[in-house]
């Protein structure tokens, strides 16, 4: 993030103090927000480096870094004034939490703000109480000054230092993920204990990470991995790609065994979401239909499998799991047709709301007394058999088999999706996404094409639901909240609409990573919200965009200025939706 060095050319001693103040105030507002929303207090339970710094304190440090960075970004300054400006910005930002500490002591803020509590004060003042109200000011000033120094340092120092700090942050955050595989084998267990404590890095670990990163940086100075690969003779390069693929496959296969039972469940859920993401990717990514009721078909698939296989009260057929899966897909597809037919005449944002309504309708009906005799109401369907009946110590026991099954299905779906994308139908979808009217004028049958996209998405959601039923072994109406739809849509948007690797990245970031911070799950959707807004503001094409979308969203500005402040009527429809639904 910080490699964009402040140009050290033409150093200028004058500091724009108004800017410093403004950014400092902004950083302070953010710091105050982080305190009040409770992150400081709640994140305190986990350490970044055990005994040195906790996650709660890290949030404050990051606020200071951000304030200083934003103050200095793009400014040419000599080292001393940069450090000074950073320190002032940090101090201004730190003043906000300091005021909070004092206020919380004087007034009973807690009646209103849950987290204006002694816990927060303790974190902010490193345990000194109100007498330590100066601590955040000083700490953030130091952080700001260091950031200023780092930004004006020569690249030879700045790059490795930034990399080391980033690596420290990441390894500290993901210590919980890195530790179990090390402890699993007796050879590496000692290393694991040396580097990681139960709640973060140890001091030894932190030093090791810093040395490793800086050492690595020095060892391969300049030559980035990519340029070295490019420098290889072609014959050796040809070997490289397959071996990378083999390594990746081995890693993916090894993953659930290496990370311990808890994370095996997590990776299974990620695999499930990848599967569903590929499904929604057809509807949303290719055809551009924002379906917020995806969970409806997920529920249909799960309930179908539940009804057909359950050995308990509501089971009706006692089928084996594998016989029920294709049936579940078909039923979900039929529901897709049933729901899709009426609403596909609706466009864009209206469709999102209509589908959201469907998701809610299905969920409420599943839990209602009306269908209680059929679906078990809130008590749900239990005793759904696992896809593979194996003894508990088997290699494929528990969530591990779901992981593999999810991945295999995901591969199949991805293959189908890619083949469809490159087909006539796929091009029709892309055309619809661009402009329905033009697509129709060019002979694309709108209703048929959209219906196919919707039904395929529904089918894959049903497949996901079927696997989900096998994963949990029991399903309830409450297993299908709106959040599932939002999760899937968000992972596609963050990953990159229409992009297959984007779905994988999105699922890892939005489903996998939050599971590692399960004790902070109350902030999960807060981060989703921020991620969605930030994504739309700065990178609407997603993290790993498909080439087409990227080209679309970064057309030369001529287009944007032509529309100017106008209604943006290029892709805008008339103010009333044409009542063409029946056609």
């Amino acid at each position: 993030m910080m490699d964009t060095a402040v140009a050290p050319a033409a150093p200028d001693a004058t500091v724009d103090w108004r800017r410093v103040l403004r950014v400092g105030l902004l950083g302070g507002a953010v710091a105050l927000y982080v305190c009040l929303v409770g992150m400081v207090e709640v994140f305190q339970t986990r350490a970044l480096v055990t005994g040195v710094i906790t996650l709660g304190q890290t949030t404050m440090v990051l606020a200071g870094v951000a304030a200083a960075y934003l103050t200095l970004r793009g400014r040419a300054m000599d080292r001393r004034s940069a450090a000074l400006a950073g320190a002032v910005a940090g101090a201004v930002a730190g003043a906000f939490p300091a005021v909070l500490v004092v206020l919380a002591e004087v007034v009973n803020l807690r009646a209103m703000f849950l987290h204006a509590s002694p816990g927060t004060t303790a974190v902010l003042t490193v345990g000194l109480g109100v007498a330590g109200a100066w601590v955040p000011i000083l700490a953030l000033a130091v952080v700001g000054a260091v950031t200023g120094l780092l930004l004006t340092a020569p690249a030879a120092i700045q790059r490795p230092a930034t990399a080391a700090l980033t690596a420290l942050l990441l390894t500290g955050l993901f210590a919980g993920l890195l530790r179990p595989p090390l402890l699993a084998s007796s050879v590496t267990a000692g290393i694991g204990r040396l580097l990681f404590a139960s709640d973060g890095l140890t001091i030894v670990g932190a030093v090791t990470v810093v040395i490793a990163v800086i050492g690595g940086r020095i060892a391969m100075r300049r030559a980035s991995l990519r340029s070295r690969v490019a420098a290889l003779p072609p014959a050796r390069r040809r070997v490289l790609t397959p071996s990378a693929v083999v390594a990746l496959i081995l890693f993916v296969v090894w993953l659930p065994h290496g990370v311990g039972p808890f994370f095996a469940q997590v990776v299974a859920v990620v695999a499930l979401y990848i599967l569903m993401g590929f499904g929604l990717n057809i509807t949303l990514g290719l055809a551009g239909l924002l379906d917020l009721g995806f969970v409806a078909f997920f529920a249909v698939g799960a309930y179908t499998v539940g009804l057909l296989t359950s050995t308990a009260e509501y089971g009706i057929a006692l089928w084996p799991f594998w016989a029920a899966v294709p049936f579940a897909v078909l039923v979900a597809m039929a529901f897709g047709a049933f729901f899709g037919l009426p609403i596909l005449g609706i466009r864009g944002d209206y469709l999102a709301i209509a589908t959201l309504g469907f998701g809610e309708i299905i969920r409420i009906l599943a839990g209602s007394d009306l269908l209680k005799g059929l679906l078990g109401g809130p008590r749900g369907i239990i005793n759904i058999p696992r896809p593979l009946e194996v003894p508990p110590d088997h290699l494929l026991a528990g969530p591990i088999q779901i992981y593999y099954i999810g991945l295999v299905f995901a591969l199949v779906v991805a293959f189908v999706a890619i083949r469809l994308r490159d087909s006539r139908l796929g091009r029709a979808w892309l055309a619809i996404r661009e402009d329905e009217d033009v697509a129709e004028a060019l002979g694309v049958n709108l209703v048929q094409t959209k219906l196919l996209a919707y039904m395929l998405g529904a089918a894959f959601a049903g497949l996901g639901g079927a696997v989900f039923a096998g994963l949990l072994g029991s399903i309830f109406a409450s297993s299908f909240p709106l959040f599932v739809s939002i999760n899937v849509a968000a992972l596609i948007i963050v990953g990159g609409m229409g992009s297959i690797p984007g779905v994988v990245v999105g699922a890892i970031f939005l489903i996998g990573v939050p599971e590692l911070f399960r004790e902070f799950s109350e902030y999960r959707f807060l981060f989703y919200g921020v991620a969605l807004i930030a994504m739309m503001l700065y990178r609407p094409e997603g993290l790993l965009p498909s080439r087409i979308v990227q080209r679309e969203l970064h057309v030369p500005d001529a287009d944007a200025t032509a529309e100017g402040n106008g209604d943006g009527d290029g892709q805008d429809q008339p103010s009333r939706l044409a009542p063409d639904a029946a056609g």
């Binding site: 551009g288 609403i343 309708i361 503001l537 969203l553 805008d572 639904a581």
Partner: protein
């Protein structure tokens, strides 16, 4: 040749399906109502209280719907976070009300109580306005010329952000609204089960809607807002500050939603971080129902949705001996939303506006 036959068959199939849907809906409504009414299970008392509750929730929906409809009219964008603006107002009202309650102001005579409630509403409206302007500035304004899905997704993000911010700051618990003894009492009319709070909600909602209508139709700013929603480019050429008109639209809509938040919570006695979500979607339904972009339409749509949702479950479904009909309240509301989107996307008052604009 083959393709066109397939096309024609799908076309017929779809038309047949849609007609079947219409017939089924009409049959359910008509037969269900007849069965319920002929069973005589419910007396005047039940119906009147259902209608009263429909009227009160309906007027709250109408107040929220105004914000959706005006923003959609001007930016062609669903302000998905509007429900959270409403929830923010309810929270602001809660804290003011609790303060008043601890001062003993809420147990005084009618004048003091009315003044206190008015202050709660005003503070809530102001807080919601600030919240909405922040959201507009950060999450919407930079995306004004982006493709349509982009601001919608940003709005969904803003909605989650606000919900979970409130959850973080105030906790996940349910806050019980301060008790206003006077408002809980029954209005002394024998045949109506009516509380004073219902009267307050309906009257203040009507007053605010009238005020808004006059503002939009009679003032310079209102005229500017209408001009911008017709055609931004031309409005700008006429010397209208488009940005100011947009910001005012957000502000006015948010103020209505904030006030609605207090009224809603006074009725249901509680508020928590998820309070805004379902009423938000319902109010959007109301806006679509009335014809989105149309101010009187939103009011009408809100009142209509309130009635359908309140009276509908009992009237349409009870006759079929459906158990626990009230569980299906939201199903009826969302079905109504889908039906309107399918069969009359221009809404109840849509046509008149289209004619005006054409």
């Amino acid at each position: 040749m083959r393709a066109s036959t397939v096309d024609r068959i799908t076309e017929y199939a779809i038309a047949a399906f849609l007609w079947a849907l219409r017939i089924v809906v009409v049959l359910v409504v008509v037969i269900g109502s007849l069965l319920t009414l002929s069973s005589g299970r419910y007396g005047m008392d039940t119906w009147s209280s259902l209608i009263v509750s429909g009227l009160t929730t309906g007027s709250v929906y109408a107040l929220i719907a105004l914000g959706y409809t005006m923003v959609y009219g001007i930016l062609r964008m669903i302000n998905f976070a509007h429900g959270e603006i409403f929830m923010g107002g309810a929270f602001a009202g809660y804290f003011v009300g609790t303060a008043f309650s601890s001062m003993g102001l809420l147990n005084q005579g009618p004048v003091v109580v009315l003044l206190a409630v008015a202050i709660m509403i005003i503070v809530a409206a102001a807080f919601s306005t600030v919240l909405a302007l922040l959201v507009e500035r950060i999450a919407y304004r930079p995306l004004r010329n982006a493709p349509r899905l982009v601001p919608l997704i940003s709005a969904i993000g803003a909605s989650f952000f606000l919900q979970y911010t409130f959850r973080g700051v105030f906790g996940a618990g349910i806050y019980v609204y301060p008790d206003v003894a006077l408002l809980g009492q029954r209005v002394p009319i024998d045949f109506l089960r009516l509380r004073w709070v219902d009267v307050l909600v309906v009257v203040s909602a009507l007053a605010m809607m009238t005020g808004l209508y006059l503002f939009v139709m009679r003032t310079r700013m209102g005229t500017a807002m209408r001009a911008v929603s017709e055609d931004k480019g031309t409005a700008q050429l006429m010397g209208i500050d488009v940005n100011r008109a947009i910001v005012t639209t957000f502000a006015v809509g948010a103020a209505m939603a904030g006030a609605a938040g207090v009224l809603y919570s006074l009725m249901f006695d509680q508020v928590y971080f998820f309070t805004g979500f379902i009423p938000g979607i319902k109010a959007f339904t109301a806006a679509v129902l009335g014809g989105i972009g149309n101010v009187p339409g939103a009011m009408l749509g809100g009142l209509f949705l309130g009635q359908v949702e309140s009276v509908g479950p009992t009237l349409f479904l009870d006759g079929f001996n459906v158990p626990a009909v009230n569980q299906l309240k939201d199903v009826i509301a969302f079905t109504l939303l889908v039906l309107v989107l399918v069969f009359r996307p221009s809404g109840i008052l849509g046509e008149r506006v289209t004619a005006q604009r054409a």
